[in-house]
């Protein structure tokens, strides 16, 4: 894929983020430059504590950075006021977490409908659209199940449906297969790869799971707060 012909969904320049103060201050991101393009699935890999989750949070606009600029879909995220940033996030981004973070009291369909309810969509319409998404991830018949009655793989598929229900252009996934066994992890990644192939969307996946590397288009290695390499991944999954 020729990136020069693609639009950047995320453009990060000189991102610096530290935690703590004085002697205990730790700089987690040390000047990150990174472009992520529409129509691609980018894997963000690296050792634990290297800053992957911090970078993910910064791109999502849920963590303030100390220096640098982040543009998401052409919008300078770090310049937006907090309220506007929250609204922008709700309209353009979807999230998939390692621990699913489904609301235990809500059924699968209700969980999927939550982002729409936040955007002010009526409950009946939100649930109708949620059921369509659940059908797409193969859980149409379990729409009224509570999360506790679903397997880990099914819960993650519900989480994916929830992430996609408001048709986000940027899908942010933190270790989406870490709590799943091999076959379930593969199924989840197939779903995410399909989303990433849409020309007006992109998917960022933080992962340690080498079994899913072949699903990515590119892989960025973040070590000790710096991007130490970005590699394209071949059709056969070879780097």
């Amino acid at each position: 894929m020729d990136h020069h012909s693609q639009s950047a969904a995320v453009r990060a320049r000189g991102i610096v983020k530290s935690f703590g103060t004085g002697d205990t201050q730790v700089t987690v991101l040390k000047g990150i430059d990174l472009d992520i393009y529409l129509g691609e699935l980018l894997l963000l890999v690296g050792e634990s504590g290297g800053g992957k989750t911090t970078l993910l949070s910064a791109i999502a606009g849920i963590l303030d950075i100390d220096a640098g600029d982040i543009d998401v879909l052409g919008v300078p995220l770090s310049a937006l006021p907090a309220g506007r940033r929250t609204q922008f996030r709700g309209q353009t981004m979807g999230f998939i977490y390692q621990q699913f973070n489904l609301l235990p009291a809500l059924t699968a369909a209700e969980n999927v409908a939550v982002p729409l309810l936040i955007q002010g969509v009526g409950r009946a319409e939100a649930l109708r659209r949620a059921r369509i998404l659940l059908d797409r991830v193969g859980l149409g018949e379990r729409a009224e199940f509570l999360p506790k009655n679903l397997s880990g793989g099914q819960q993650q598929r519900v989480a994916i449906a929830r992430a996609l229900v408001n048709e986000p252009r940027l899908l942010i996934c933190d270790e989406p297969t870490a709590a799943l066994d091999g076959p379930n992890g593969q199924k989840i990644m197939e779903l995410l790869r399909d989303v990433g192939r849409s020309p007006d969307r992109c998917v960022i996946v933080v992962t340690h799971d080498s079994r899913i590397f072949h699903f990515g288009d590119r892989m960025a290695n973040l070590t000790d707060g710096r991007i130490v390499g970005i590699e394209r991944i071949g059709q056969e999954g070879t780097v």
């Binding site: 993910l56 849920i62 963590l63 235990p104 809500l106 309810l117 936040i118 409950r123």
Partner: protein, 376 residues
Amino acid sequence: MNYVALKMLFGDRAKYLMLLCGLTFAVMLIVQQGSIFWGLMMWSQANISNLNVPIWVTDPGIAQVDEVKPIASTGVDRVRSVDGVEWAVPLYKGLLRARLADGDYHQITLTGLESATLIGRPAQILEGRFEDILQPDAVVLDQWAVERMGGPAVVKVGTIFELNDKLARVVAIAKTQKSFTNIPVVYTTYERAMRYVPRERRTLSYVLAKAKDGVRVEDVVQRIRTQTGLGAFTEEEFGWKTIMWVLKNTGIGINFGTTILLGFIVGMAIAGQTFYLFTVENLRQFGALKAMGASTFTLARMILLQAFTVGLTGYGVGIGLATVFGFLTASGGNLPFAETWQLLLMVLVALLAICTFSALISIIKLARLEPAIVFR
């Protein structure tokens, strides 16, 4: 998001029930203790409300209704001469001992009403005719007198007993509000009361009066005070004066106040702590909602909805239980229990304060919550 908030609340059944129990207990305790307290206060001024007259004229130094300080017998005419007074009648009220036919003695409150008008008579008669009080030696008892003097088998219409060695014949039984001291009340005419009681220089206990139509009672009361030098109160003022005396001179106010305060504190502690735990344990979920675009305002609204939903449910259940308690224990007026709308309104305000406090500590936690928590 109201739907999501309520599902989250009801979904965590154990915490919901714990919250509900805490608030229900607090409401029940406050309503039950408040109703008993207010019931006692009503009892303390029952000797005023049972007579149901608009103006009480007393000795200027009077403290409360049961502490009679007799005034000069000219008091009635002096009050009648005050501009704006429609009528004024004498009232005798004093303690005597009644001796029953079996030789048993009982202390009673003798109430002497003016015979021409019988102003101050009880509104409800359970047995007999009150007007028969005009017959020779006739007296009327209240139902508590019957109860205290041995029950209906011993004291009934037609029973004869002695008051200060003089005959008294029961012609009727009246229904009245129980008084704080629960001393049996024996009604008779003012003139006959003078025959029953030992000779004293002053025998007029109170003057009961009414303002003319179109004249403010408060204005007439003020005129009576100014022109006669006597004490004068509206029925409500005298009632409150008596209540304040009881509160000041007994431990009732402090005892009940402490229990009510404890109910409030316990309710606040249980609700606040449980609600805070509920929020903390759902922090990742709230973080996820925040990450998905829910503003702090939206989350605060959800928390407030949850707090007020469980609060108002607890309010309803608590009041229901307190009312059942009152119905079971105080029916028939044997125990003081006055569940007034003012009390329920005050409890509602207290409960809303508890819920707001509980919600606020959770909202503060959520306002400080970084949605990045969902990635940890």
